[in-house]
């Protein structure tokens, strides 16, 4: 696979639902109530139940592994959460190549809400197969 700085990787759009948050809570074993209990979420000052940060990381991870396929291995994957996201709104994951150094490739990756705000920002480094 030929990779160049500036390449955009194919975007991935997710449509998270409250049901998915419950599914994710079970799969990860994170039963913090802010992800499925509306009254509880509001009682701690949130607008309602919010996506798990790690669910958004999972979306962005899929963005990277869908693009990479069998062409290399993920070496590092880092995300920061910059805002809360609620179910019922599309979540768009995007990325682009920021550095190519021999077989090592660095990507800037992010997830944005429907207003285009990047609520998850991160970096992935991959080692491409020869």
């Amino acid at each position: 696979m030929k990779v160049e700085v500036g390449d955009e990787i194919p975007e991935l759009v997710k449509h998270p639902t409250t049901r998915q948050l419950v599914q994710y809570a079970g799969a990860q074993g994170d039963f913090y109530e802010i992800h499925y209990d509306q009254p509880y979420a509001k009682s701690v000052g949130l607008p309602g139940v919010i996506l798990h940060g790690l669910l958004k990381a999972g979306f962005v991870g899929q963005l990277v592994t869908d693009w990479l396929g069998d062409n290399g291995a993920l070496k590092t994957f880092e995300v920061s959460y910059r805002g809360v996201d609620m179910p019922g709104h599309p979540y768009r994951c995007r990325g682009r190549v920021t550095r190519v150094d021999g077989k090592e490739v660095e990507l800037e990756v992010w997830g944005e809400d429907e207003g285009g705000k990047r609520t998850t920002v991160g970096t992935a480094t991959v080692l491409m197969r020869p």
């Binding site: 599914q23 899929q62 592994t65 291995a73």
Partner: protein, 139 residues
């Protein structure tokens, strides 16, 4: 309710102290449920853990009651994974978590308490699988 300075002082005494090791088997059914929860249909995850799966094997932070006396809730600030070897179905993964740092930052609604946790994952052959660095925020 305690002050940020009190919370920081108390949690600082925990820096470097490891929680109990947790060992868990990477099960095919668990991988499938995790991939389904993310909505990732890649058949690769029938035998291999997707990038964020390790967080499902063991708690990613220590339960710090000192931290919970501060603020009203937790937020996840970020996660950094460093990968050394893939985790495959049948692997026995051991996770060890520790506090590596604690500090505060001014937020829009008051001080935020940041606690940095690091988890090392090794497999049944003693090989390093991954290291996770996570930022837990108390708000």
């Amino acid at each position: 309710m305690i002050t940020t300075a009190e919370a920081i002082d108390r949690i600082k005494t925990r820096i470097g102290v490891e929680g109990p090791a947790v060992t868990a088997l990477v099960e095919a059914g668990h991988l499938r449920r995790f991939a389904e929860a993310i909505g990732d249909p890649n058949p690769r995850w029938e035998r291999e853990a997707p990038p964020t799966f390790l967080v499902a094997l063991a708690p990613v932070s220590l339960h710090l009651s000192d931290a919970e006396e501060y603020g009203q809730g937790w937020l996840n600030g970020g996660n950094r994974f460093e990968y050394f070897a893939p985790a495959m179905v049948g692997d026995q993964i051991t996770a060890k978590v520790r506090v590596v740092d604690v500090y505060d930052k001014a937020g829009s609604t008051g001080n935020l308490l940041f606690i940095i946790f690091e988890t090392d994952y090794t497999n049944q052959r003693g090989e390093k699988v991954a290291r996770l660095r996570g930022t837990a925020i108390r708000r």
